[in-house]
Symmetry: C2
Subunit: 401 residues, 2 copies
């Protein structure tokens, strides 16, 4: 296996640190728009299998050229979701399999943006699934932690815990704080704004996909391992688009434990138009307000040493257990920042995202997972994934609610 | 009288519309960094006494040159307070009197920014008062509505209503809404951020000037003429620096009726660093985050037709009345947006700011007001000002609390 990693930011760098401990691949070419950043991420692991390259992720041709040049078998997309389509197209054009951790972006419904879906997350990718299948190539989409591990949990719950599923409810929360900052998100603010201010999508068996107003259906969810109760709201997320395609259920939701303060910040950014991506004229220059917001905040990848607390990703499944009795179970994965910093030198949120595609690539390398077309994590057997995740030293948990 | 107006924004344009109805001046040269905007503001009044010029308000030399070129007797500063010093210096260098509606900016105390004052509002101007006095030139500072009319009220209260003053408390509030916008400040957001996020200054007879944390001492003040109760907080404002210099009192405060929503927006901007004026690097360009916030919001000068409601500026005076009994009186000035739009074509907040320097200039032109040095409105007799304001068709009010 010869991997082209596109994106040497927080998640990309953690991906390198985790992969470097494994022997399932021959080569990883770390690429980034910023060539120096790619060099730095590749050098940081001190492993001769890693090299660096510059890439323009807006160009499918540039991605395909790198695939050809380095004999790449798998393209690993670790940049923000604006660049999904050129990387995805470039992988197919170059003749490589493809993995990502976020899917092609949505476009809201022109008339009823808070009721009906327009272009949904991943629609652009699923639209060409037939081409991938015909070419015998695999695009394994949404294989970070959320989407990713949450989807693996859905398949596991359906196969091993439930006879009938009422709701697949992804729930994500943390108790992270950052010393010295009044406000410092631990994940890309660009992506967080995109996720949280888009109309959240919900799936129901008798309605299909529909959307609501942002921040709908607030709920306090009590997260395990000492994190405790956090205010969660509906957020647009890939799980809701992926799970119902492969797993029988009556409802699929995603709620993000943003907490009241973060929700207020996002609402204010939106009210002031500072969430916009279209450029505005500011004196002699033009900038995207959302990029300015990101530039004003600390880079989440640099915050690890100042962060404290744990992050939790999981899936709350309700329905009927294998024994025919009502069941309500939370399957989850918690990472303590102190542990991920000490063990890998990467903060817990990016580390938790990055470990899952490494596990998936190892399963693909050994042939335990195989397939063609555009497939979510639910399309594969969950058991070997969860076993390998545990073998990596990062076990998952289960709790009856 | 030959006036150089520097700044053809909202307040400058309203100033022209109000002055055009009066005959106390020979000539007004409307100048702006944007020459076309100056042309437009001068042309809008349809009065041959108005002409336009381009000016760089960061250059005292440029201001002095325009004073010389047009035989200017009075420089009227109507730009944001960043440019006070070059315009103030340029007027003196050119040999003209000077008026402004905001004073030179403060710089917070390096060690105790929320306890002690550093450089105070207006300090740079008062530092050279002797030069103005020696030259026989007048700088009438802070002669908008607040500071301005509020300071006139202070002098009026001391001369005619009170034998002893406990507190001179400026209170400003409105019930304005803007159709079609979720959030649209009716005054320069740049200045509002500057005022509200700087440590608010308070004066007490036995302590002198001191500062507190932003948004301190919240209080609900019940504004007259149907505006009703609004949440007010301490804000850094010129009145507190001006009033105690000329009017005996035990305490001087300024509270701004921001309302809870606006306070929350300002706190969030600060938390995210979006209030900063130092440029940040955003991809290939550099911009000041505060300028980006301003660029994302509608221009307050264009909102008049969509605004509804009234704005109130006033001074709450407590102490002992002339009759020796305790007295608590609010002296105020209310402008209804519907009226100012119909009558002058300018929204109420900028119109209310602009009328006061026109009245003051007329009093200076007729010799009713005269003086030399750097003087606040309190240094002059309040009665002719309040009479002329009423004669302009914009009466003030008084209410016992």
């Amino acid at each position: 296996m010869r991997i082209l990693l596109v994106g040497a930011g927080g998640v990309g760098s953690a991906f390198c640190a985790i992969a470097a401990r494994r022997d399932f691949f021959e080569k990883i070419v770390v690429s980034d728009y910023d060539g120096a950043r790619a060099e730095q991420a590749a050098a940081a692991v001190g492993d001769a299998r890693f090299s660096a390259a510059q890439v323009d992720a807006t160009s499918a041709d540039a991605v395909a050229a790198l695939v050809g040049e380095h004999g790449i078998t798998h393209v690993m997309n670790a940049v923000d979701p604006r660049f999904v389509m050129p990387i995805f197209d470039g992988a197919l054009a170059g003749g490589a399999d493809y993995l990502d951790m976020a899917m092609s972006l949505s476009v809201r419904h022109p008339d009823k943006p808070y009721e009906q879906t327009g272009v949904k997350l991943g629609d652009q990718q699923f639209a060409v699934a037939q081409e991938w299948e015909s070419a015998g190539r695999l695009a394994l989409v949404g294989i970070g932690v959320e989407p990713g591990l949450s989807d693996v949990f859905a398949r596991y719950a359906a196969d091993h815990l439930f006879s009938e599923i009422e709701e697949l409810g992804t729930r994500d929360g943390s108790n992270l704080t950052v010393d010295g900052y009044e406000f410092a998100p631990s994940f890309s603010i660009w992506t967080t704004i995109e996720e949280c201010l888009n109309p959240p999508v919900i799936w129901e068996a008798d309605r299909g996909w529909f959307v609501t107003e942002p921040f709908s259906e607030p709920e306090v969810f009590d997260f395990p391992e000492g994190i405790g109760p956090v205010e969660c709201v509906n957020v647009e997320h890939e799980e809701v688009l992926l799970m119902p395609r492969w797993v029988d259920c009556k409802r699929a939701t995603f709620k993000y434990g943003l907490g009241e303060e973060f929700i207020d910040v996002l609402k204010t950014l939106h009210k002031l138009g500072l969430d916009r991506t279209e450029k505005v004229k500011v004196g002699p220059v033009e900038v995207s307000p959302r990029d300015v917001v990101a530039a004003c905040l600390p880079n989440p990848a640099t915050l690890g040493p100042k962060m404290k607390g744990k992050t939790c990703a999981g899936l709350w499944v309700t329905g009927t257990g294998k024994d025919g009795r009502p069941r309500s179970t939370y399957l989850y994965h918690v990472v303590d920042n102190e542990w991920s910093m000490a063990e890998y030198g990467h903060q817990c949120v990016v580390w938790q995202t990055a470990i899952n595609p490494v596990v998936a690539l190892e399963l693909l390398a050994t042939g335990t997972w195989k397939g063609a077309g555009v497939l979510g994590p639910e399309a594969f057997d969950a058991v070997p994934f969860l076993e390998l995740l545990t073998a990596y030293g990062s076990p998952w948990g289960i709790k009856e609610l």
